[in-house]
């Protein structure tokens, strides 16, 4: 009797184990086949395929959702790469095409040496333009990779800003613009001096370019305390802004302004490559900061915010650092 029962129990156990194993195997197989089908479709170029989600909220759905999120991200990155390479192809093609046309036209139609020379000089300057675009693109890529962080030093931002402002003030006055600076005496800052100057230079350059005569371009910088902790330390951030009274930008353009090669409709007839703000944003991100654009009614307000370490750590860090020469 006992042996009978034991025997039956054993049999049932084996049946259940085999049956369960088979069921689980089928389940896994189903998942793997589904993953395999989706990835195969994607390998064959159909980036729109996604894993089916049952809506049962179990582990299988979790895997499917994770894979789909990954695919979404890859799609977005690919779209970005596609846009940039299209833009590169287009924006480099234009000056190259111009240079080519000038040279060919001169070769066919120039009647004097002077004409030939003029065409060649024009062509050379168009090629210089190509080089400049290349350099800006490489620079943005390099900054985005974060490699430049090794050049970070502790420095006073105010003289660095004064230098840029000095350089551009003359240009602003030439355009009949007023230049106003609101800068404190000192602004201890940790970063890449030349890069940060370039970011501010690009903002000033834009402000001057898009200002009507008699407008005012303002450069201001200050440290804001954004929050205070119970232990006495506080969150501080650098607030740097460049404002103009020019044509400004609409909301949609502002959102796209830092995309590579993006140029707003009203800006198309002004000189520029559409890389200036991309570079500014890359530099600001390198410093863990943010670039915000807003309306200045009229004009544009470009603000850079960079979180700063609280004062206690800054001064102790500074004590250990060798003085920076300038």
């Amino acid at each position: 009797m006992l042996t009978d029962t034991l025997l039956w129990a054993c049999l049932m156990l084996i049946l259940l184990a085999v049956g369960g194993g088979w069921l689980i195997r089928r389940l896994f197989r189903h998942v793997i086949q589904s993953i395999s089908r989706t990835t195969q479709a994607i390998t064959h170029g159909d980036m729109s395929r996604r894993m089916p989600v049952q809506g049962t909220d179990d582990e299988l759905d979790e895997i499917a959702i994770t894979i789909n999120e990954m695919l979404d991200r890859i799609s977005r990155l690919m779209e970005g790469v596609r846009q940039v390479s299209n833009a590169i192809a287009h924006d480099l093609r234009t000056p190259i095409a111009r240079a080519r046309a000038q040279l060919e036209d001169a070769a066919l139609h120039a009647t004097s040496e002077a004409e030939l020379r003029a065409a060649m000089e024009q062509a050379a300057s168009n090629l210089d333009n190509v080089t400049a675009i290349f350099e800006a693109l490489l620079r943005i890529a390099q900054i985005e990779s974060g490699a430049r962080r090794s050049a970070f030093v502790q420095f006073d931002l105010v003289p660095a800003l004064q230098d840029v402002a000095d350089l551009y003030q003359a240009v602003a006055e030439e355009h009949g613009l007023k230049c106003v600076r609101h800068l404190p005496d000192h602004l201890p800052f940790f970063g890449d001096r030349a890069m940060f100057q370039q970011a501010v230079a690009n903002l000033l350059d834009n402000a001057i370019k898009f200002s009507p005569p008699n407008g005012t371009v303002t450069l201001s910088a200050e440290i804001l305390t954004t929050g205070r902790h119970s232990d006495g330390s506080s969150d501080r951030q650098l607030n740097l802004s460049v404002t103009d009274e020019g044509i400004g930008m609409n909301e949609a353009d502002m959102a796209r302004a830092s995309e590579r090669f993006f140029r707003a409709e009203q800006a198309r007839h002004t000189p520029g490559s559409g890389l200036g703000l991309s570079l500014v944003e890359a530099i600001v991100h390198l410093h863990d900061g943010q670039l915000h654009l807003a309306s200045n009614t009229p004009g544009l307000l470009a603000r850079i915010t960079v979180p700063l370490p609280d004062e206690a750590t800054t001064s102790s860090e500074r004590a250990g650092d060798p003085p920076h020469p300038f």
Binding site: E121, A124, L127, D128, T131, A132, E135, L138, Q142, A147, R148, A151, D163, D166, L167, Y168, A170, V171, E174, A194, Q197, Q198, A201, D205, I208, K209, P271, G272, G276
Partner: protein, 225 residues
Amino acid sequence: MRILLVEDDQTVRIFIAKGLSESGHLVEQAENGKDGLSLATNENFDIIILDRMLPGGVDGIHILETLRRQGNVTPVLLLSALADVDEKVAGLKAGADDYVTKPFSFSELQARLEALVRRNRNEAQPQTRLVVGDLEIDLLSRGVKRAGQKIDLQPREFRLLEFLMRHAGQVVTRTMLLEGVWDYHFDPQTNVIDVHVSRLRQKIDKPFGRPLVHTIRNAGYMLQE
């Protein structure tokens, strides 16, 4: 001047050699690192133009480092397609006196070569006063006078004038001014330099009739009597 040119790209080499010969220099050419190194170590040159990347295992930096180890202080200008700031720093650290990135204009290269040779000669005696024609500046008191008349300049205008006076009789490119006067190492895209030079002209040239600052087409500026 006797110039050694080490460059593997034939088009670029012939372009540079032709231009330099036309302006009266003697150019010795090498198309690979090995020949370049043996020429540079065995003969005397006023200046060496060195391509950074050369075929055959001996690159520009290697030649430069070997020369400097041997105590050879001939001014070296590096030519390179590597435009990176870090690459520039590496080149200067290895002992280069200047760095020009490809593509470049001949006038930029020539202006920089002349500035290098001039600097090498001038370093011997520190100057306190610079004079070009009837224009003189005092580097200690920061005073500027033309035809005996005192001229007021902003500090930056003074530095711009000082740079031009130190390179009097030579072409100074916009890039050189940007680097030398403003310590800026990027392309500002706009004509910032032209604006500053035109303001300087208003003060030192316009009231006196005879201009000293000349615009050199497709190249830059030159201060000359």
